[in-house]
Structures are given as structure tokens and as C-alpha cells.
Amino acid sequence: MRLMSRTKSYLRKPFAALAIAFFLAGPAMAQDWFKTGTGLGITKARVAVPDTVARSTFTQPLPKTFHDVLWSDLDYSGILDLVSPSFYPLQAPGQPSELNAQAWAAAPANAYMVAYGNMTTDGPNIAFSGYLSDVHNPASPPAIQKIYRGVATDSDARRLAHQFADDIIAFLSGGQPGIAQTKIAYVSGRSGNKEIWTMDYDGANQQQVTHLKSIALTPRWSPDASRIAFTCYVPYRGVTSAQICIYSSVSNRLIAFPRYRGTNSSPAWSPDGSQIAFMSSQNGDPEIYVADANGAKLHRITFAAGVSTSPTWNPKTGKQMVFVSDRGGSPVLYLSDTDGSNVQQLAVPDMGYVIDPTWSPNGQLLAFSWRRPSGNYDIYVMDIVSRQLVELTKDEARNERPSWAPDGRHLVFESTRTGTRQIWSMLADGSQPHQLTFQGENESPNWSTK
């Protein structure tokens, strides 16, 4: 750039200018560029996922497990259209040389991308060679070509499929990571006591985490997904009270957090993981307090008569907080800075209880459950800036306690629509609800942050 300014003084001389123009034009033309654009409402990419080709003999149906998991991951991603298998060409490709690009690109498949691959095994281990090819552009190399390795078990085949699905989704969404490898923490009473459990985002691999044999509620993943803070009832010197407990999934045990007087519940991590906001009645009135993750520097945030609880931080900035308070009569949401200033009510255009706020990862939306006078608890999403509301569930029993997935495209919540309280997930526009738990009573889900 400095060269340009220096060239200006020589511009009087026509020959020098001509030479410099050629010199500058040369590299500028060589720089690659492309031009594209958008209008409102774009079509989703059509992706075909043919069966996984088995190149070895498997004792378990691992290639089929892999394909089924990959299919459901991509189907539930919300950004793709999967081509129905009945439109596929007969031969399923196992590697790029076997891909008949024209057949996939033409009608009836009309696919834009094909995700395919082959799986091999040497007995205890499996390897999957995965490819994602643009069939309209067969000369270009595959967008993804990777080998995924694991042991020959059903759970590892699922894990590899989640990895491949995340790679495909990250590519087709232009760099946003997928959620196929995330986890969901929730409260289940199926072991006799309410304990914290975790599962994969699709409901597989359900595992009990805590064994406190009392009551555990409101799990919250830390931003690095290494800890779970929750409300626990652990007796201490003969007194059982609600306290904040933190479980480390690295060391598989509880880590220290101080006990306080009164009732302490509903923890919420700050986006950098250094602080925890929670409700505490240590000074009488249930108010919101903020402490460091080890319990130091405790300070009070809210100062209003009535209950203030269920804080949630703005995950994008960490500077604002939404909480529930009944200071004005019935419980509704309030927005404030994280130092407790600038409190304002997030007004909703009807009466009723507004509870369980949760802030979307990009900081733009707020999901909460709202019981209007005419009906039951339902999940709503509010655009924080414009205060516009969207109702996501309707006329399906109680739907409560939403929690955002880290991609901001999915929500997990608890619902009684089957008669018992179970964990469900859906896309953030309310479509594609999936039931994740079936045994016992399960509640209070929280999606891990990565």
C-alpha cells in the first residue's frame, strides 16, 4: 500500500506509470475471489446419505448403526434437507472413485452433496473413511475426506457417526460447530431419589452422575463442560437445607463450594466460568447472589422485597442477567446488569407466571416457560431487543424449563405430554420434537455448552 503512494509521484511520467500499472495489476488479478449473495429465505442444501459400505465382515451391525446415527444427526440438524433413500441410485459409493456424480445430481435424487464412506474392521477396532462430495462439481476434491477410528463397539460406532455428522454440519453451515457430540444433564428419579443424570444429545448413553441419595435439582454445565453445578440437599450436622453443589466430570466427584445459611438454589455460571450466580435466603429474603466459582467474593445483586431467583447470564457479553422475581406481584422476568443496576421488567402482553429464563448462546433470544391465565405452561422465545414473542409449544400439557443447545438451533425441555414428565428436545422454531427419556420421571434438562 505504501508502494502505491510512492508510485503517485512518478505518475507524471507515462512510461513509468504504465509499467507500475502492469506491476500492480498482475498480483491483483491473481488473487482469487468469488461473488455470491442472498435474499430472505434460502433453500436448505439437499444432502444424500447412502448406506455405509462395509469392506470387512462385521459380527455386529456396526455399519448400519453408524448410518442410522449419521442419518438422524443430519436430519435433526435443522440446516439440511435429506434426500429420501428411495430416490438413490442403486450402487452406494464407498470412496470417491465409486461415486457416479451425475446420477446423484440428476433427478430424482437432485442431491447437492453426498455423504458416504466405507467401514473396515480388524476385529477389535473399526475405521470409517468418510467423504462429503459436491456432485455438481465432480472435478473438485471432496469437501471432507477423513478417517475416523474407534473400537468395535456400538457406542463407539455412534461416537464416530456423531463426529462425522459434526464435520458435515460444520462445513455446510459455514463454520458453526454441530451439536452431535454434546450432552444433556437432567434430573431423574428412576433410581429412587432425584439424582443428576447425563445422556447424549439424542437420548442415548444415559448415565447416573450423582449418588447423594437425597434430592438434586437444576443442573447447570459450566462453560467448559467440565463441571455441573446443581442444587443439592445434603444433611450437615443434622440440618438438611438446599445448597449449591458442584460436580466435576473430570474427577467424578463433588468439589468444594461453601454452605450458606437458609435456602440456596438455582445456580448459573457466568460465560467465562469464573462466577456463579444463585438464589440465597441467607439474609432472610430470597435474593440473587454472585460468588466466584470457589465461593469467594460473595456479594448480593438484587435488593427488592419478594423472591428473586433463576438467574441466567447473557452468554455473549456476560454483562447482563435475566432473573425471575415476584416483586411486582406474580413472577415475571427482569433484566439487569450483572452488578444489579438498571433493573427493568421484561413485560409480556398477558398475565400469568413467567419463569425458567434461559439465554440463547448468541445473546439475542430468551427462552422461558409461561403459564398464561388461559392455559398451561408453554415454551416461548423472546427477541430481547424487539421484545417480540414466539410460542413454541401449544396445547400439549405442561412444557417447562427450556435450555438452549450451543448451536442456538435446538432447545431441550421437560414435558408431560405423554402423561409422565419426560425430557424432550426440538428445533428452536418448535418443529421436530424428539422424546429423549422414557423411564421414570425426568425433569430440569440442561444442554452442555460444548
Binding site: 482469487d32 475471489w33 449473495g37 430472505l40 434460502i42 465432480p138
Partner: protein, 263 residues
Amino acid sequence: MVATATIRPDENLKRFFYASLIFHGALAVVVAVSTYFSHGGESWGSPGGSVTVGLVGSVPAIPLPQPEVVSPNRVVDESKGLFKSEPQPKPKVEPESTPIPKFERNKPPKYISRPSKVLENPAPAPPNAIPYGGGGTPTVPVTSFALGTTGATAAGLIAGGASGGDFASRFGAYVTAVQQRISREWLESTVDPSLMYAPRVRVTFDILRNGSVANIQLIQSSNNRSLDNSAIRAVQSSNPLLPLPAAYSGSYVNVEFYFDYKR
């Protein structure tokens, strides 16, 4: 002897002295007699004498105290206040005569010998400055590239259609991924709700090797500030994008992205 010398001998003062003495004695007698007669009867202030009290107001001759009238005028207070009054301007003393200015010689103006030095801009050229002779239409054909080389169309996959140099034909999937991402980050709610239709907004930026977005510039405005801002925010919030394809050897790719708004 000296004093009597000024008085004439025929002027005798004895006559005046006796006359004065008699006059004063008679005055004393008159006073004594009148005192006796005036206070002779009853004593002063005793009852018996009728006193007539008339209304004072009925006497027009006596001036009555006026009620206080609040006047809108300010009473000039002579005491020293907080504020100094403006001093009186000194009267100008007109000079009786002015000196006649001396005639100066008109000097010829200095001619600037090198005007080009003055007119040249000393600031360095901005990075997006078009070098001399570099403006205008590029000499390479830019519109004749299709995505697929086998004659297949995008089948509605690419809403606006992608065009570009060699990059778009080699890595069409990457272009589509970028388009999908930015489209998803473009929020209709941030655009002026009264806007029904707007001309195309064009934004350019660079995608670096690791996918980060740099040099975001608005190169064609829609004449609607909120739409322009929403387009720029869509690009900003898409940062980082996907890393450039591994098969691509360059260090960055320049992108021109347009936004068509129609509600």
C-alpha cells in the same frame, strides 16, 4: 475716654434703659396675671368640660398615610451589591486631526514557483485506493463461470447464483457454505419494519486462511441505514467462517456478497 470719644455727647442711653425696664416689668406682670386667670378655675383635665371628637377622616385637610403600593419599578439601591455596575465609558476624545497615512509602495506579489508541491496530498493513499490506470472494468471476463462444469445447474440450491473466478468453480461447496452461513446470520428483525423493498446491498470482505473475516466494506448502499447495518452485521457475526479448503493454496479469498431485501 477713648470709647466715649466715639459716642456723641448728646446721645444718652439712660432713656432707652428705663424704657426697656418698664416694658419687661409690664410683660412680667401680664404673664403673672394671665397665668393666674387661665388656671384659676378647675384644674386641667377634670371632668365637666365637653370634648367633641370628630372623625379624622372627615377632615380632608389632614393627609392620611397612604397604603403601600407595590410598584413594578425597581428601587434603586445605593448600597454596594454583589454586582458591579458597568463603569461609564470614557468619553471619546476626538482627535483634532489625524496624521495623513504615508503612501506605501505597492510591492509586486511573489510568484509561487512550484504549484504542484502545494497541491499534492501528503497523506498516504488508503489501502483501497485504485492505482493510476487501475480503475474501470477489469479486463478479465467475470460473468461466464458456471458452478458445474458438466452442465448441471444448481437446481435452486444457490439462491442468488454464485459467480467468480477459478475459486468458485473449484470450491463451489465452500462458496455455498459461506452463503448459507451469512444468510442464516442475516436477521430480518434488525431491518426497518416499514421497508418493503430496497436496492441491492453489496459488501466485500476477505476470508483468511483460518476462516476469519477481514476488511469488511460496504461498497453499495441500499440508501437505508438499517438494512446496510444488518448486512454488515451478518458478515461480522459470521466470523469466523469455515477455514479455506485445504486444496486451496492462496492465503486469502476476496468475497463480494450481495443482499437482496424484499419483504
